[in-house]
Amino acid sequence: MNPQGEVTSLLTAWGKGDQNALNELMPLVYNELHRMARRAWSGQAQGHTLQPTALINEAFLKLAGAENASFENRCHFLAVACTAMRQILVNHAKSRHTGKRGSGQVMLSLEDVQPAVNQEAAEVVALHEALERLQAVDPRKSKVVEMRYFGGLSIEETAEALGVSIITVNRDWRLARTWLIREMSSGRS
């Protein structure tokens, strides 16, 4: 079977409730997205920026192929890809948070900029951890935030991918964000 056929049949199998299919699918999607994200990050030095949503869409076309872009396949793929994207971004933030950055290229002194770099990265990690706590309370809300924040999906796309109404996503998003903001602010103070 060609790779696109394999990804498509895994998506279909997972859609029918086969959890093993997800286990096989995740590394494929993670690796492809990770490769693309690295290319996009290094590509930014040349001036083009790819957003998470664009990466995810590109990965879908690459892995499943345009001819397999059925509605169900897309929805299942989005769910997997947003989780993979979250892992990529969190791992990236973690490495950035702890990694040393030495460079003479920056015009401003590193003492000025270093704390802010660390803070942003730390914030992504903090959100990820708060999201894990939310998942224990309410898995769907945590998925909504994952898709919106880490996958860059709109309210409409999130509703479509999760098979719920736009009103539900709006409500979930509103409460989940409030809950997360509170978690993250109280953790800091």
Partner: protein, 349 residues
């Protein structure tokens, strides 16, 4: 006590009372158990801090830094005095300000937390350098660039008028005006390309028609000098990549940029072609319900010739716009060639 039942009640009560005034909230919450009331109360308190208008990507930075997000009227940046905040973008804020002689300027300030990202600083400096290097009536003029306690800034000529987005949304544009605008836009792009500067972010929000009819291209925020510009490879996933929405930008990206290839002047031509198509027909050539649809449309959907959507379309312009949208960068006309076609149709003296 059942945590799951509590959570459902918390959720229900939160949505029920969140948009009500305090007194009514209290009345509705009175019957709930103390623990539920405390949890809902705590969530409401967070909600009331009005973080909701902020896009998710900025949540992080705004929460942490707790910095004053905007300058107020009367404050000074360099020799300029702030009048009003005009807009806040991913990169920074744009203010209306005036210089000591009272001339209005648009003052773009790099948001202090972005100073953390070498990429953002670089991009900001490149914008300043690229725009300073260009002197053309259809490209916004940079008056000064500098650094101040409020952040790095670029002072630009103040352009008052309507963006192309507003002009397109306002309805059909008559032929002579469309030709005039197309000519000015292609001429500006040709001048930039002649100076070996790419824009890389051509979209209707970045083109303004001044009240006197002069068109100006703004925001060389992604511009790169074609010469050797030394750049740090960017690794800032946090500030650069999680910003989430594709909004307008994807709609004006060329297929080669979507594939991650390096931009060329032909990529700018494609973006401008998309915009001109929209100007003539009122329809976006790659419109789609979702980003994936748009992505697919740019990659492979057949584009209907503008003349099928608009009567009386000059054939040469019809063909030109279709050539600007060719998926093969090498098959597209240069901006200079495009401007020459529009010039022939122009009735302006």
């Amino acid at each position: 006590m059942n945590p799951q039942t509590d959570w459902e009640e918390i959720e229900r009560l939160f949505h029920e009372v969140v948009d009500l005034p305090t007194q009514e909230r209290e009345a509705l919450l009175a019957s709930a158990s103390e623990s539920v009331r405390a949890e809902v109360g705590s969530l409401l308190e967070t909600n009331d801090k009005a973080f909701f208008s902020a896009p998710p990507a900025h949540l992080a930075a705004d929460l942490i830094e707790n910095q004053p997000s905007a300058l107020t009227a009367g404050q000074r940046v360099g020799k300029y005095e702030i009048e009003a905040l005009i807009t806040t973008g991913g990169m920074g804020e744009v203010y209306l300000a005036h210089d000591p002689s009272g001339n209005s300027v648009a003052l773009k300030i790099l948001r202090p937390h972005l100073v953390a990202s070498p990429q953002a600083v670089d991009r900001f400096q490149t914008e300043a350098r690229a725009a300073s290097a260009l002197s053309h009536p259809n490209i916004v003029t940079v008056c000064e660039t500098g650094d101040s306690p409020a952040g790095m800034f670029i002072a630009m000529e103040w352009v008052e008028g309507s963006t192309f987005r507003e002009l397109i949304d306002a309805g059909a544009v008559d032929t002579s005006r469309a030709i005039d605008w197309c000519e000015q836009a292609t001429r500006a792009l040709a001048a930039a390309h002649h100076a070996e500067i790419l824009h890389r972010d051509i979209k209707p929000e970045n083109i303004i028609l001044r009240r006197d009819g002069v068109l100006k291209i703004l925001d060389f925020g992604l511009a790169r000098l074609a010469g050797p510009v030394r750049l740090e490879p960017d690794t800032s996933g946090a500030s650069g990549t999680i910003s989430g929405t594709l909004s307008g930008t994807l709609l004006y990206m060329s297929p080669e940029i979507l594939r991650g290839e390096v931009a060329s002047s032909a990529s700018d031509v494609f973006s401008l072609g998309t915009l001109l198509y929209e100007l003539w027909t009122g329809k976006h050539p790659f419109a789609g319900e979702t980003p994936l649809d748009v992505y697919e449309a740019i990659e492979c959907r057949e584009v209907a010739a503008p003349s099928t959507l608009r009567d009386g379309m000059p054939q040469e312009i019809d063909v030109l716009i279709m050539r600007m949208l060719d998926r093969d960068p090498a098959a597209r006309p240069s901006a200079r060639e495009a401007s020459a076609v529009f010039s022939r149709f122009s009735t302006k003296p």
